[in-house]
Symmetry: C2
Subunit: 362 residues, 2 copies
């Protein structure tokens, strides 16, 4: 392949085989992410449309329906669970607080619908296992949007191609000012352990470097160490306003990660190998240009794939990938079992911070 062809194809869908079709989605949970990112991304997608919205009240759904022409029905959570309007949608996208993923996934599975569930899969590893068991007869994909991000896929190809030799060390970080981003929004549920699970920051942000490193290296975590701290009153119920953790992966690579809900908007993923390094920065938080840098032997190549709406593009890719797999009846990855490894790693990271001990990911 010529370098000209490479640059031309960096955003091509290496996964797409579907030629036509439409997957009608019931969107469950109408927080800011769903309204401002997911629904517009579905509108921009090739193979998906939002036909049903599900939230706490008909009014909230009606507000969204008013600005989303494809929406035919607004249901309450109870109506959705009861099976109202099941013929109006083919699959569900679950974007509620973590501890509500299980009941709505159970309902979707009972209705025989394919499920795209936000990450982390649930509030605890045990509840996530229940979710995977409940969904065993329907397609289940977990919404790791970085896995359909073209920059991340190019990074993974470069690692597999030996561009940096054997991976040795990973650095990953994700930070934001959560109280600014979600001010006055029900997303404050992230500070409530009953809804969020183990904590507010590694569950919500730390999972990005963890899972993206797994995907890029094609490896799984073996053991972890961690340190966490909450300073501000708003974070009194959770251990991790700020966190750092290390991971040993099963290929021997070490990852050194940080995450913070009280930091400047910031994110990066770096893989250092025996022959070079790869850096994706900024990443995780939709900033552009998301730039992929390859360094080897003192040479450096920087790739800006031209996207300026990175969040939107990532979500559109994710929804079309989900439709491609569901409509063709093909297996989906990242699936429930993939996400369970993260849930066990998250449990281990919080246990490591609490006990001050290295913890195996079982």
């Amino acid at each position: 392949m010529s370098i000209r062809e490479y640059v031309q194809t960096v955003r091509e869908r290496d996964w797409q085989q579907l030629e036509s079709g439409t997957l009608r989605l019931a969107v469950v949970g109408l927080g800011w992410w769903t309204r401002e990112q997911a629904i517009p991304a579905i509108e921009a997608s090739e193979f998906c449309e939002t036909t049903v919205v599900v939230s706490s009240t008909h009014e909230k759904g009606a507000d969204v329906a008013a600005t989303t022409p494809s929406v035919e029905v607004a249901l309450t959570y109870d109506e959705f669970v009861d099976g109202d309007s099941v013929d109006e949608y083919d699959a569900v996208y679950i974007c509620t607080p973590n501890a509500l993923h299980l009941p709505y996934a159970e309902a979707a599975a009972e209705h025989g619908k394919a499920i795209l569930c936000e990450k982390p899969l649930e509030a605890t590893a045990e509840r996530a296992e229940e979710l995977v068991a409940a969904a065993e007869d329907v397609p289940l994909m977990v919404a790791y949007r970085m896995q359909t991000d073209p920059g991340v896929r190019r990074m993974r190809e470069l690692v597999a191609d030996g561009a940096i030799g054997d991976p040795v060390a990973v650095h990953g970080h994700m930070g934001q000012q959560m109280l600014d981003v979600v001010s006055g929004d029900p997303d404050q549920w992230r500070l409530d352990p009953d809804l969020a699970g183990y904590g507010a920051t590694v569950m919500d942000l730390g999972i990005y470097p963890l899972n993206t490193a797994r995907f890029v290296l094609d490896t799984d975590p073996v053991s972890v160490t961690a340190q966490m701290r909450s300073d501000d009153e708003a974070f009194r119920e959770v251990p991790d306003q700020h966190a750092t953790f290390t991971i040993e992966f099963d290929d021997g690579t070490f990852a050194a990660c940080t995450a913070s809900q009280h930091a400047a908007l910031s994110g990066h993923l770096r893989i250092v190998g025996t022959d070079g390094e790869l850096l994706l920065e900024p990443t995780f938080l939709g900033e552009s240009p998301q730039t992929l840098t390859l360094r080897m032997d003192g040479r450096e190549l920087e790739l800006d794939d031209g996207r300026r709406d990175v969040f939107g593009d990532e979500m559109t890719e994710e929804f079309d990938y989900f439709a491609d797999r569901v409509l063709r009846g093909e297996p989906i990855s990242p699936d429930g079992d993939h996400a369970l490894v993260d849930m066990r790693a998250l449990a281990a990271i919080y246990e490591a911070a609490e006990t001050g001990s290295e913890v195996s990911v079982r």
Copy 2:
């Protein structure tokens, strides 16, 4: 100050007060670092000259003397300890294997000479304490070259000035292919615990992000976690061919670090704060241009200070700083007590990896 003045002054010596004078150095240990970096840096300095070289044999010293006109005497280690030619030098630069710092520092102190000792200060925290005690009556500086690196000093000023708000997270990494760099060289002592101390990699490389973060943040480590691994036969006696560690600092900042003696030449230091971030990259290993990047509110400023011989410049700055303080009789920082904090942190990092427990830095 105008931005034009700032760029003009980024490499100015904010520490220099000496106007004239010469500090005559006995250089103890003639490994590749001394021959290829330190002695040329002393030749380029304003206030230092190498008048005595000390090594295992007269022949080795004579080889160096032949290409270094200022050298008047070549001593063996025994002759140096015995006090031969003490009138030919005013101070000593100790660059031997770690476990030999103590005897030569003791000898230098007995001869009443100021000491510039390479880092880590000794092989163990206990031996480092002995060294500091032995040198209590002479000036003792520890050779943290990053602390006189202009880029690092600008980074520290920016943090102190609030450019990134309150520091939240640090990422630091240093990697090299040690067996290539020092092939056939006595520096293989780094693989011998009797000479190197706790290990090969965190002692030699991990100390850079550790100490530079301390200096830039003006903070000290409180507790650490760590994971280490040695794969290759050459590293069988040491635990840390590859390592990762986290540090909680006393200002609450978390650091996530990696170090490897079997990685591509690579190094970076990043400080994420509540309002922005600072990145120094590449750094630690003399690569140029060492670039300092400041990001805040979506704005970005990149500073290349123009140096293309970063190792040489760092060492010249370090030697002239040492002379400035010694010749004026002024206190020196980084001193022995500063270095003891690192030695205790290094001991804690190795203990954390061995025990799988978070360890306090006592």
